[in-house]
């Protein structure tokens, strides 16, 4: 698929791009390499040994200490993060899939208006929403519970928009009509015919909302004050703050680093493994 065609010419022409890509790989990889190497060091080694090379191998001890510290609160944070992001992503994806399908394949009163508004909703920054949502949820007395993080995360106008575009392109009306003639119910048509055809869009929306919630800092920071409810992002920063305040007296820097490593491994692995799925969906995201 190289445009240049004939072999020899292409190899010469691609030398410069390859050098640039190598520089890019180095740039994107160095911080990740650092965190992998640093996670294998004890706190004293972390401070004294060369930053980008190994010292005494301490990874196992670090991980043991990580899950022991503060009565094993790190494990709780990890669970919370998985729970919040899993439930949020599932919910947001289900809502977006149904809404996108409904908008693309039905007509009803107010649809045009809603579609125009949808584009506007994508542009509303989270900043404007998080603080008032906090105040409302505190009136309802559900701040400082997992729902305060999960419920606002269900909102994904971009997801609905992406599904709507995808359905319009790749779920033929004729097929739906044929199913209706065969007396299939609307829910069954959606579930058995449309959803399988929408799979790339659904996987994409799921992954992107999963990452958004997994990585979210602002929302849980505002909503939660009980340390047992923290996700990894908020938990790690509180440890980091303590580590700086009590510099040296408590072994925490090595835990922040090891904890960071364990926090990023699941998502990086998920993205690499699911590459095949999200890449075809991301094509639809190109219109983003």
């Amino acid at each position: 698929m190289t445009i240049g065609g004939a072999g020899n010419r292409t190899t010469v022409k691609t030398r410069l791009p390859h050098v640039l890509m190598a520089a890019g790989i180095l740039y994107f990889l160095v911080p990740l390499l650092w965190v992998v190497i640093a996670a294998t060091k004890s706190q004293p080694d972390l401070l004294d040994s060369p930053a980008l090379w190994f010292a005494e191998f301490n990874l196992v001890e670090n991980i043991e200490q990580l899950f022991r510290e503060d009565d094993g609160v790190y494990g709780q944070w990890l669970l919370n993060t998985a729970l919040y992001s899993g439930l949020s992503a599932l919910g947001a994806t289900a809502l977006a899939a149904a809404a996108g399908y409904g908008l693309a394949r039905f007509s009803f009163v107010g649809k045009r208006l809603f579609e125009t508004a949808l584009l506007g909703m994508i542009m509303v920054p989270a900043t404007a929403l998080v603080l008032p949502t906090y105040l409302i949820l505190s009136e309802l007395e559900i701040v400082d519970t997992m729902w305060a993080v999960i419920l606002p995360s269900l909102l994904s106008p971009f997801g609905a928009y992406l599904v709507r575009v995808y359905v319009a392109e790749s779920v033929p009306v004729e097929l739906i009509d044929a199913a209706r003639i065969d007396r299939a119910g609307e829910l069954r048509i959606f579930w058995q015919i449309a959803v399988p055809m929408m799979r790339p869009a659904i996987v994409t929306v799921f992954l992107f909302t999963l990452v958004a919630t997994w990585n979210n800092y602002f929302l849980p920071l505002v909503m939660l004050s009980d340390a047992d409810l923290y996700p990894l992002t908020v938990g790690l920063t509180t440890w980091f703050n303590t580590a700086q305040q009590e510099a040296g007296t408590r072994m925490l820097f090595n835990l922040v680093v090891t904890g960071s490593l364990l926090a990023i491994v699941p998502l990086v692995v998920a993205f690499v493994l699911l590459q095949r799925f999200w890449r075809s969906g991301a094509a639809a995201g190109a219109l983003k």
Binding site: I3, F28, V124, Y217, G285
Partner: protein
């Protein structure tokens, strides 16, 4: 795999493939195949309820809250636009706004420039190495902004990182990445590291949707790959580039996590370093929810207007050409 999905933003100007004629034709044939207005609305309803609860109501509440003030002497009272007048004459907010705008003016073009160059390279070079580059460049996207900022904070610091002391090997002074003169650059690097790969993938996907026939003629005419990239491919994905730009602008205006984490390394990052940080601190450090609501509403409104105007102009231009 390459799906032919339009790169233009559809919604208003390109309605879904015409299904009305099909439906009206079939309506004559059978009563069952109708527009099903109720079913359609029911599919959208759950999403709509979430929109009402977590978008419309909070926005309305923020606006309502911003129209009053609370003081010890007078209690809560209606103050109209006073909070907004205060906001737009507040030197701390204006400083923060200016800082974020300056930051964006430098960081966004650099990041999107690299992302575009990377996407064009990936589109033209299809070696295994390019595949590895694509995957590795995308990895930072999966790293939480908090962890990314922490990692770079460590890397920048003299005690943990390898870079600050580099000049000392040739007899120079160590670099202070947290000094006032370098701080914005240090922050810009964190954001660039995190988001370049993501934007590159988005633009690369758009490029994959460009029909090859569009530049086959140019290839036969002997155009170089660089000429094809700049004259054919870039114009073809203009829409995707502008949309990537606008989403980056929206993100930059809300700049929060990276400066909040970096404040631990660089104490001169004040409570009002960015507008979003300021709004947060007004609420949670000073408990002034009314002013905080005005700040977040104003900021949200500003972002919304800029973004919407951008999309609108873009679309008009797209429609004309």
């Amino acid at each position: 795999m390459t799906r032919s999905i339009p790169i233009t933003a559809p919604a208003a100007d390109s309605p879904p493939p015409p299904h009305r004629p099909v439906e009206s034709r079939s309506r004559r044939r059978s009563r069952r195949v109708t527009a099903h207005p109720v079913a359609g609305a029911l599919f959208v309803l759950p999403f709509f309820l979430v929109v009402v609860a977590f978008l419309i109501v909070p926005l309305g509440y923020a606006f309502w809250l911003s129209l009053s003030s609370k003081s010890l002497a007078l209690g809560t009272r209606f103050t109209g636009i006073d909070n907004y007048v205060r906001a737009f004459t507040d030197p701390v907010l204006l400083d923060g706004l200016l800082r974020v705008v300056l930051f964006g003016l430098v960081q966004i073009p650099i990041m999107l420039g690299i992302a575009l160059a990377g996407a064009l390279t990936l589109d033209a070079v299809t070696t295994k190495f390019a595949l590895a580059f694509r995957l590795i460049a995308f990895m930072p996207y999966a790293v939480p902004a908090v962890v990314g900022a922490l990692m770079w904070g460590f890397l920048y610091s003299r005690t943990f990182g390898p870079f600050a002391d580099l000049p000392t090997f040739v007899g120079g002074d160590p670099i202070d990445f947290f000094s006032s003169s370098l701080l914005l650059l240090s922050l810009g690097n964190i954001v660039t590291w995190a988001w370049t790969g993501y934007n590159m993938i988005i633009l690369y996907s758009a490029l994959q949707g460009v029909p090859r026939e569009m530049y086959e003629a140019a290839v036969i005419d002997g155009a170089t790959p660089v000429q094809i990239a700049l004259r054919v491919k870039v114009p073809a994905i203009k829409q995707a580039i502008s949309l990537a730009a606008i989403f980056t602008v929206i993100g930059t205006m809300q700049f929060f996590t990276e400066p909040a984490i970096m404040a631990r390394f660089a104490p001169q990052i004040s409570a009002g370093y960015t507008p979003n940080l300021y709004a947060y601190n007004q609420a949670f450090a000073y408990s002034d929810f009314h002013y905080s609501a005005a700040l977040s509403f104003a900021l949200g409104f500003l972002v919304f207007v800029v973004a919407y105007a951008f999309v609108f102009i873009n679309r008009r231009r797209g429609a004309r050409s």
